[in-house]
């Protein structure tokens, strides 16, 4: 009787395959359950544990831009003097992949970096998911907190988010400042004069006049792309200057706040007055494209992050002069013009220790952060091209003389405002980016775009109790 025997064998094989599948599934579920049980960030020790004497590589993750290279060079030169066995490696990814590169590794509960350089708005997501260490006790014992502008310390480390301009001393800290930043206005002294415009309206008028008088040169250049936080930061900046608010943080309310008359006026100014002064096809410009337009003499006035502006003074990358001095005869750097308020966007990033890094690397990371935040090191970092956050370093000649835009940063510190630092940040910024980009490129009416942003962002904040379809 061959037939029944074969059927039995097939059944056994099928059963074995099914068991294998179930076992694999259970293994996957089991692993998840163990780590998934973690809520909130694990605590870092208050004192630095004993450091390893073996060769050790301390890895960072950041996005590809000049400060990343500057950090790696600076840290390897200076930190090696105190820790010869440590090598610093700053791994970089394209800006558009920065959030995903860090958080997909966090999701896997295994990171190839020890220090994540998070944007200030990423902190909420990382803390809520338990991805980074709580540094509150470590900071109390090792960092001179009074040496910083309170808002800078809060912006790069505190969660829940601080009120604009303040720090809540009872709140926990999850990071320490690495690189401060804000927008600078870059203007052509040879085309609009030595004195920068003082108000936003004056700035638009100067750009319009300059564009009319200089064919081939556009009046303005600024971030408009729908990737990263490009177009969103541009709108938020104009929103702040025209007296608008991004949200009511306490009530978690966006609809009716963002799209109030001040917010609408800001959107109208951006789309109807500023956009017509930009170059044709600039609707996907971000940091590099704005810098290229300035360096090629194609823009009268531009806005960009200070930390990304160093290359503008490089004669090899510019058509404005054959030396730094010649370029500086034509280019001026100023704080943003004021209008109804004097707010400027807070940029920059902090250092955060990965919760999944080996213990020896976490100890080295804490030691590095303590070393980096010292007054003399912050001044050296400033001289090497970094933007420090300690007040003494910001006011030091090493920093103020290192670049013509550094005074702009020093003057902008009391004027800074950040976006929302909540776990839903990535979705909020995507909604704003895509809608502002649509308005700038004629795919949506400005009012419609602003109302859509407010409505969709509010839906994201309100969706915590939703059953299914999260993320749509």
């Amino acid at each position: 009787m061959r037939h029944p025997k074969r059927t039995t064998g097939r059944k056994i094989r099928l059963a074995t395959a099914a068991l294998l599948l179930v076992a694999t599934t259970m293994a996957a579920c089991g692993d998840d359950g163990g780590d998934g049980a973690r809520t909130g960030a694990p605590k870092a020790p208050a004192t630095i544990p004993e450091l390893s004497a073996d060769p050790l590589t301390l890895s960072f993750v950041w996005f590809e831009w000049p400060p990343a290279k500057a950090l790696e060079t600076f840290a390897n030169e200076e930190y090696k003097k105190v820790r010869p066995n440590a090598t610093i490696k700053v791994n970089t990814v394209p800006n558009a992949n920065w959030h995903d590169a860090m958080f997909t590794q966090f999701a896997a509960r295994k990171t190839d970096f020890d220090i994540a350089i998070l944007d200030s708005q990423h902190i909420g997501e990382a803390v809520t998911n338990g991805n980074i260490l709580d540094l509150t006790d470590f900071v109390k014992n090792n960092i001179e907190v009074e040496a910083y502008d309170p808002y800078l310390l809060a912006a790069y480390g505190q969660f829940p988010q601080a009120e604009t301009g303040r720090r809540d001393e009872n709140a926990s800290l999850y990071g320490l400042p690495l690189l401060g930043d804000t927008w600078t206005m870059i203007y052509r002294k040879d085309l609009i004069g030595d004195q920068p415009p003082q108000t936003w309206d004056e700035m638009i008028s100067a750009a319009e006049k300059c564009q009319t008088e200089n064919p081939g040169v556009s009046g303005l250049a600024f971030h408009q792309a729908n990737g990263s936080d490009a177009a969103a930061v541009t709108y938020n900046t104009v929103n702040g200057v025209y007296g608008g608010n991004l949200w009511d943080a306490k009530a978690k309310k966006i609809e009716g706040v963002l799209n109030d008359p001040a917010g609408q006026e800001a959107m109208d100014v951006l789309v109807k007055k500023m956009k017509p002064l930009t170059a044709k096809g600039s609707g996907n410009w971000f940091i590099d494209e704005v810098n290229a337009a300035v360096a090629q003499g194609k823009a009268c006035i531009a806005f960009n992050w200070i930390a990304a502006s160093g290359g503008l003074l490089d004669p090899e990358q510019s058509t404005l002069g054959k030396s730094r001095e010649q370029i500086l005869d034509k280019l001026g750097f100023a704080t943003l013009p004021k209008q109804k308020t004097d707010l400027v966007p807070l940029g920059g990033m902090g250092m955060h220790v990965s919760a999944y890094s080996p213990a020896a690397n976490q100890a080295e990371a804490l030691n590095f952060m303590k070393w980096f935040e010292q007054a003399d090191i912050q001044k050296k970092w400033a001289a090497a091209g970094g933007v420090p956050s300690r007040t003494d370093a910001i006011q030091s000649p090493e920093f103020l003389n290192a670049g013509p835009f550094n005074k702009v940063y020093a003057d902008s510190v009391p004027r800074m405002r950040d976006m929302w630092n909540v776990p839903e940040y990535a979705r909020l910024v995507d909604i704003e980016n895509t809608n502002v980009n649509a308005a700038l490129n004629g795919a949506k009416e400005p009012k419609q775009a602003l109302d859509d942003i407010a409505k969709e962002q509010q839906a994201v904040l309100d969706s915590s109790g939703r059953k299914g379809g999260g993320g749509l």
């Binding site: 809520t128 998911n129 044709k280 299914g468 999260g470």
Partner: protein, 298 residues
């Protein structure tokens, strides 16, 4: 020479066959079947890869939300326009080029090889150099238009031109695929049929309509099927060229799934979204294959 040793009685032909295919089957199970089943399980939950914690069942909540979402409908329409536009254009161009090449006797190999070059490139590389070529300020395409006295075009930052640009770039890269398969079909048409038609003094058009097209058609439809499935999954060109913009006007379904999966890490929703996309492909492929079989039978 002594006779070869007999095989162990336990090692039957059947067992030997199972032993040989087992590694491949295990690999398939681990890399394809298990992830698919795991995604199916997650699609009924509110699981998030970053938040962790136990996955709570929402049953068909994710599916209902996706199928009723206006955002998803908009991306589906964009994807449909893209698939029809790109695959249609590629089919016409690919078949035309193949037909012209098949009529040549000299240099056919060289021409075919040259036409295949775009297909060999990585879509990311293709996206990057087309992004430079289509740049409104310094791109070579607008420079050419300028030399002809035409106004520059905002290829990647206007709603209509952005989607057309995606279709053109995809067509540039994948027309050779259709061409290659059509060429294989054209060269397989028996010569005696054309000879018989010549004896009957059949016109060129008559020969094309009654001999060439009916014989190449089934093969061409298979090429169209492959291309349509690929185009339906389009992600890389969108990511590099337009990032889904302006606004979300060039966001395809795959690009939207990526955002759902990695911006908010809504793994449950993204899994349901992925499963629905697989189902759409399977259903459409089945209908298509039935049509193909019917065509063969006829």
């Amino acid at each position: 020479m002594p006779p070869a040793r007999g095989r162990s009685p336990r090692l039957t032909d059947r067992r030997l066959a199972v032993l040989f295919i087992a590694p491949a089957l295990l690999l398939l199970l681990a890399m394809s079947v298990f992830p698919l089943l795991w995604a199916l399980y997650l699609s009924f939950t509110d699981y998030s890869a970053t938040r962790g914690g136990p996955a709570a069942f929402v049953w068909f909540g994710n599916y209902t939300a996706i199928l009723t979402s206006a955002q998803v409908h908009q991306r589906a329409l964009t994807t449909l326009i893209y698939v029809v536009g790109a695959v249609g254009l590629q089919t016409v161009l690919g078949f035309t080029i193949a037909y012209l090449i098949s009529r040549r006797t000299r240099g056919r190999g060289l021409l075919t090889t040259l036409f295949l070059v775009p297909m060999m490139l990585s879509p990311v590389v293709v996206g990057l150099f087309w992004r430079f070529m289509l740049d409104a300020q310094f791109g070579v395409v607008n420079s050419l238009l300028g030399s002809l006295g035409l106004e520059p075009v905002e290829w990647l930052t206007r709603q209509r031109t952005a989607l057309i640009s995606l279709i053109v770039v995809d067509t540039w890269q994948w027309t050779p695929f259709i061409m290659l398969i059509a060429l294989a079909g054209l060269t397989a048409v028996p010569r005696y049929l054309y000879e018989a038609a010549s004896i009957d003094r059949a016109s060129e058009w008559f020969r094309f309509r009654t001999i060439t097209l009916p014989l190449v058609w089934p093969l061409l439809l298979i090429a169209v099927l492959f291309r349509a499935i690929e185009a339906f999954r389009l992600f890389d060109l969108v990511y590099i060229l337009t990032s889904g913009g302006p606004g979300v006007s060039t966001e395809t379904l795959s690009f939207h799934v990526y955002k759902v999966a990695f911006l908010g890490f809504n793994t449950g929703t993204a899994s349901a979204y992925g499963i629905l996309m697989v189902l759409v492909v399977i259903v459409l492929t089945q209908l298509y294959l039935r049509y193909l079989n019917k065509l063969k039978e006829d």
